[in-house]
Amino acid sequence: MKNAGILITIAASLLSASIASADAVKVGVLLPYSGVYAALGKEIDAGFNLGLEEFGKGLDLEIVREDSEADPGKSIAKARKLVLQDKVDVMTGIVSSAVAGALRDFVHGAKVPLMITNAGNNSVTGAKCSPYISRFSFSNGQINRLMGQWVYDQGVRKVFTLAPDYTAGHEMIDSFAATFVAAGGEIVGGEYTPFRKTKDFGPYLATAKASGADAVYSFYAGGEAITFVKQYDSFGLKANMPLFGAGFLTSPLYVNAEGDASIGVKTVLHYVPTIDSAINNSFVAKFQSQHEGRSPSEFAVAGYDAAHALSLAIQQGATDRASIAESISKVSFTGPRGEVTIDPKTNNIVQPLYVYETVKKGDKLTQKVLAQLPNTQDDVNGCSL
């Protein structure tokens, strides 16, 4: 009797699960809402929500949120829960490259579409690409690839590089160095600092100063970026050795914490809130009204565009895992950062890049766009879709 009861319960729950999935598209959002990347996770979530408000009107969506804590082990457990228990049709999120790497095989095997909204490791849309994994943020190589030529064109001939000693640091610097050398420049030295363990950049900055370089090219993010930019400025290096880099260095998300130290730093990024287009201006205004006047960052736009792409896919008739994955790979639209498409060869985003300088307007720090670089598409990097 008891067993029969359990069986009925199971059957009923299976039935209700299938009914639910027949009606609504279930979306699993896997972001770090706590831990060191909490600020990024919440920013992406805010962008994603705004995107759904705007493009997801009338769509039957059910959102399930899970906290990844930016921890690969915990993320795998949460992803399993989303896929096996909640039976989501599509997943989005992922800030940490390590988490993206850890989830790849599970997502690929389970055939659940995953729309990445930050993690930039080249391999996710390179050697380890999957028809189910698409990326709406950037790849580390993509961000820096055109900067070698641009920095060379500014009259810089010798560069010293500095970045944290982990995958993103190496990929960003390698990508810049390759094109800078190809343009005719010289990398006179460079160091990788212990990731999230470096409190004093003084020793590295003194070495950079002694190297005789014309400029420093760098990548840091979050708390490390704040510390690095402040210390770079405190040594007075900006006057004789300007600072260039990947734009996370002076991201709008934490440029205020850097203060005047960030003025004059020239970096490249796929989005800055000061891009002057009707679509972006309206996006910025809406975001600001929800966040006490704070401008959206490159993290928010990734969430926003992911919501846009997902809404388009569903409007075009995608309903289940397979059709959503297929539809996402072909998506193309104009968003706050300009025209974006998903590259069918790698499932990475193809997007314009913006070189910007952090400047002070009144008493606020803002981003002055110096150049818009053409849409960049990654090489296939061993990916075959």
Binding site: S34, G35, V36, A38, A39, K42, D165, E191, Y192, T193, P194, R196, K197, K199, D200, G202, P203, Y204, A206, T207, K209, A210, G222, G223, E224, I226, T227, K230, Q231, S234, F235, G236, L253, Y254, N256, A257, E258, G259, D260, A261
Partner: protein, 288 residues
């Protein structure tokens, strides 16, 4: 690689050492005098930085620096009355577990109060800029950090060695039963010591913030370096804290110059060597 380069690196090492000393001295004072392991020290340091940043946003840098130690001492007072006092007589394992948990609770409390975004705390105008020394331009604020560290060292040394309350503390550490028989209120003494240790964490937070970044995880990130400093130097002694800081600061700085690829492991190798040869650290406190 001229002389200027080496002077610059020497100053970097010295500055980093004093910063580490400021960070670890509160921890070592509490441990040395009370034999209490307070792993929540990093969280108190972060709390100090956050208070300094919020106060400084409205009333300027100096107000922040003066308010932070008092605010953290008040937090310490509350923690002592409700938690630490009860843990005083329990073993080190229970203390480690409780204060480790407390660290995460305080970290999330910081998040709830101030949010996840980094706060700004700039170097004040009077301390910005650089001064020239031996032909090398060095940021003024870094000299200020060294000075604060040196003052803290001298003051603590004087108080412990030369004043009556210092004598009472030393008596309480050596033999607390005998000290209370002689009319010293040992409990109150330890309470004061704990609050002073917390205030030191607050000063460290306020002074380090313009140099580093005010983010929620800052307390967690600083815990390991401070533990290494006091383990190398010897738990609980002032001399150990400054020696440990100098060793850490110089090894880290010159490690980054000579062998950047090994910069993060050199200090752990040294730690292992010291633990093998001198398990109690270089200058352990007598009471230990």
């Amino acid at each position: 690689m001229d002389t200027g380069f080496w002077i610059l690196q020497f100053l970097n090492a010295l500055q980093f050492s004093f910063l580490l000393f400021l960070l670890s001295v509160g921890l070592t004072v509490i441990f040395g005098l009370m034999h209490f392991v307070n792993l929540a020290h990093g969280a108190l340091y972060a709390f100090g930085a956050y208070v300094a940043a919020s106060v400084a946003a409205s009333y300027g840098y100096w107000a922040g620096v003066f308010v932070a130690p008092f605010a953290v001492a008040v937090l310490g007072l509350v923690l002592y009355q409700f938690l630490i006092k009860r843990m005083r007589s329990s073993g080190p394992m229970a203390q480690v577990l409780v204060t480790f948990g407390l660290m995460f609770a305080l970290l999330d409390l910081t998040r709830i109060i101030w949010g996840d975004l980094a706060l700004a705390l700039d170097v004040p105008a009077s301390l910005s800029g650089r001064i020239s020394i031996f032909g090398v331009e060095y940021p003024l604020y870094r000299f200020f950090v060294m000075m604060v560290g040196a003052i803290a060292l001298i003051m603590l040394n004087l108080i412990l060695a030369r004043t009556q309350i210092g004598a009472m503390i030393r008596a309480g550490v050596d033999n607390d039963k005998m000290a209370s028989c002689l009319g010293i209120n040992v409990e109150r003494l330890f309470f004061i010591v704990f609050c002073v240790g917390c205030a030191l964490a607050g000063i460290a937070g306020a002074v380090a913030a313009p140099l580093l970044s005010v983010v929620p995880e800052m307390g967690l990130e600083i815990l390991i370096p401070t533990l290494i400093v006091i383990v190398i130097g010897g738990l609980g002694s002032l001399k150990g804290a400054i020696t440990g800081s100098l060793i850490y600061g110089f090894v880290q700085t010159f490690g980054a110059v000579f062998a950047p690829q090994f910069a993060s492991v050199v200090i752990y190798v040294l730690l292992a060597l010291i633990l093998i040869t001198k398990p109690n650290g270089l200058f352990p406190s007598r009471g230990g």
